[in-house]
Amino acid sequence: MIPALALVVGVVLGLVLEPTVPAALQPYLPIAVVAALDAVFGAVRAQLEGIFDDKVFVVSFVSNVLVAGLVVFLGDQLGVGGQLSTGVVVVLGIRIFSNAAAIRRRVFSA
């Protein structure tokens, strides 16, 4: 309940404040969002399976975002930033899909 409310509040804040992304953060923000989405889907799945733990969620969320940002940063330094961020998005996308599939099995039993 509270997490859903917080999500809504964040969206509303983003819509109201209309901040511009700082140039230094521009390459990392999309990757960070995808990584966070992965963590959220994992959390929903764990919740449905009855093994959800707040601490695990917080740690996995933060570490997901940090690792994704670090990978992209390293890629930029090595001159393969574009390819690495594509790779990160692909890997996270696959994880999101598998989590979504697990959620679907739990919810619809199919």
Binding site: I2, A6, L7, G14, E18
Partner: protein, 248 residues
């Protein structure tokens, strides 16, 4: 647990630090997602592109610009050639038309007009010989006549006939005192309509022992009218030479 207490727990949640952290993280996620979506939508596709991609795109555009410039130059060259060619062609065509007109005046295929004289030869005794007319024509030509037609009465009736005089024109005596000019039989009075310098033509006819005296010997008279415009309207069909061919 009773349903009532479950509801109470859902509505009045326990606020632990971890819960706060989860809420903050999800709030951040929503915020960041919205910001990212907005920045992608606001500035078009290039704003979210990476530096290498931008360099690549710029490179492609520069290459494309070079190719298009080369194409423009080639097309402009073609355009210049085409317009230049058209100018030359139309100039040649104009020149050819002009020459055709000039030659048409000589060959008698086009009407001619200009300053000149109208020479009328009367022949009351019907005794004028063809060579008198030929002399008159030669005299006119020597005086610079450029287009000439001969008019006369048709043998029967009052209709008048006109014959364009060209290089092959001949004067032959016909029956009953008439003269055939190129197969057209004419009766007096004969009229020469001549385009040329009126003063020169007049004086050429009037020299002693010339056309005027000649005609007077046969009892006829010569009347010369100068005019700033005479019209030579008689035409002649162009005949293809049977043997002569232009030398290449």
């Amino acid at each position: 647990m009773s349903p009532r207490s479950l509801l109470a727990r859902a509505l009045v949640p326990r606020l632990r630090r971890v819960d706060v952290a989860v809420a903050v993280l999800l709030g951040l996620l929503g915020f960041a997602a919205v910001v990212q979506v907005r920045s992608t939508q606001g500035d078009g596709p290039l704003a979210a592109a990476r530096q290498e991609d931008l360099v690549q795109i710029l490179d492609d555009l520069a290459n494309r610009e070079d190719r298009l410039r080369a194409e423009v130059a080639a097309l402009e060259q073609v355009q210049r050639e085409l317009t230049g060619g058209t100018d030359r062609t139309s100039a040649a065509l104009d020149e050819a038309r002009r020459r055709a007109q000039l030659l048409g005046v000589l060959a008698g295929t086009v009407p001619a007009t200009g300053p000149g004289v109208v020479v009328t030869l009367t022949d009351p005794q019907a005794s004028l010989r063809p060579d008198v007319l030929l002399d008159a024509l030669e005299e006119l030509r020597a005086a610079g006549a450029e287009a000439v037609q001969v008019e006369g009465q048709a043998p029967a009736g009052d209709a008048s006939r006109r014959v364009r005089v060209v290089a092959s024109t001949s004067f032959v005596a016909a029956d009953e005192g008439g003269i055939s000019v190129d197969d057209a039989e004419l009766r007096a009075p004969y009229r020469f309509v001549v385009v040329g310098d009126p003063a020169t033509l007049t004086s050429a006819l009037g020299i002693p022992g010339g056309v005027v005296d000649n005609v007077a010997q046969f009892g006829g008279r010569v009347r010369i009218e100068r005019s700033s415009t005479v019209e030579v309207t008689a035409l002649r069909r162009l005949e293809e030479p049977r043997y002569a061919r232009p030398t290449p």
